[in-house]
Symmetry: C2
Subunit: 199 residues, 2 copies
DNA sequence: TTATGATGAAAACGATCGGTCACTTTTTAT
DNA sequence: ATAAAAAGTGACCGATCGTTTTCATCATAA
């Protein structure tokens, strides 16, 4: 069916664009990877550029559905140990899920060329995480779990190092396990510095 | 002279590769940007790929000269305020120097394709900064300026957020001033949390 | 069953890519 | 001054790019 093929082409595009970039990808290879002739592309997309835009649409929609709205917040941690656990759960998914990895890599490669990729990259790598943890930390401060401070600053101090380590996983997949351990070590360091152990 | 032209080609390559990536750059445009015919490229470089490798050589050598050796360490801060000032001096340079910006962008774009670019990227974005500040923080702890802790962990917690903000400057140059202010705010937050104000 | 629209592939299109070659101009060395 | 070497250019090469055209195949609906 048409819908299926379209989706398969988009998947192949995400894969190839994330490895070779938009300019470094040619349609023949892309279509061959899913068993089609390159000319068949144009039954589903007007051009390579339109395929790129459709892929971006998909990535933007996916982000909106999964990370976009505040009601998608994970349950607020009830203890410092839970914060570490929740963080590790989230980071493991985001650092090891193939689709999410490819999405980040595409955004990394095309952020300087495409404005929508640039905006989504900033959300993925910075603002999305800090906004999410701002809310979480504000809640934890109210519960007396965290030292009272600017939640946004604490969220930035917490998520930015994690973001750097996720980038490291994308760049050097061999070091993923090592990086995840470093995330956990950093998370524990963070709660040691900012946490309050009961009233 | 030959040396001059070779250098001019390398400069043009850094500029174009940083904007369009290796695959997205064509030799005619590159050479035209410095007033040569594309065929003249091959008087100085065997191929586009060899030009790329020569550019990488240059970037690696530049990094080694400026950030590579421990004796290139800036003078250890004598106070917390000096740490903030020194940080801002360094970050302003690294976030606003055109050549350094272009170098980071090239490494960002080619990190998944080229192993040497990948290794240099990790130095630029993570290990170089943390190693440098590990030494600085160890010195400051001995002087009683910083709370005693693992210098490497503190250096990571300090430099990673700054690295994220530098990436933001590369991605969205319009926000450079804003990002620099955020670096300063974060730096002050850091010394507030980890600093000791005299014995 | 047959008409129809959607889906696929093969061949070919013009454009552009990196690279070569024959030739001229400029620089350098003697 | 002059020979040799280096640097630069325009024309051209084969390969490959994204895309179009033409035609075959398939599912579906009348």
């Amino acid at each position: 069916m048409a819908k299926d093929t379209k989706k398969r082409i988009l998947d192949a595009a995400l894969d190839m664009f994330s490895r070779n970039g938009y300019a470094g990808t040619n349609m023949r290879e892309l279509m061959a990877s899913i068993g089609y002739a390159k000319s068949s592309t144009y039954r589903h997309f007007e051009s390579k550029e339109e395929l790129w835009n459709a892929l971006l649409d998909e990535m933007i929609a996916y982000y909106g559905e999964h990370f976009g709205s505040p009601d998608r917040l994970p349950p607020a941690p009830e203890s410092l140990e839970e914060l570490v656990a929740m963080t590790m759960r989230m980071v493991r998914i985001t650092a090891q899920d193939e689709t999410i990895i490819k999405t980040r890599k595409v955004l990394t490669l095309e952020q300087f060329r495409d404005e929508r990729a640039r905006n989504l990259a900033t959300k993925h790598f910075l603002t999305g995480l800090t906004e999410m943890f701002s809310r979480i930390f504000a809640g934890m401060m109210e519960k007396g779990l965290l030292r009272r401070d600017d939640p946004a600053m604490l969220a930035f101090a917490y998520t930015a190092p994690i973001s750097v380590l996720i980038h490291l996983c994308d760049r050097e997949p061999d070091k993923t396990e090592e990086a995840l351990q470093q995330v956990e070590a950093f998370s524990r360091h963070f709660v040691k510095v900012y946490g309050k152990t009961g009233e």
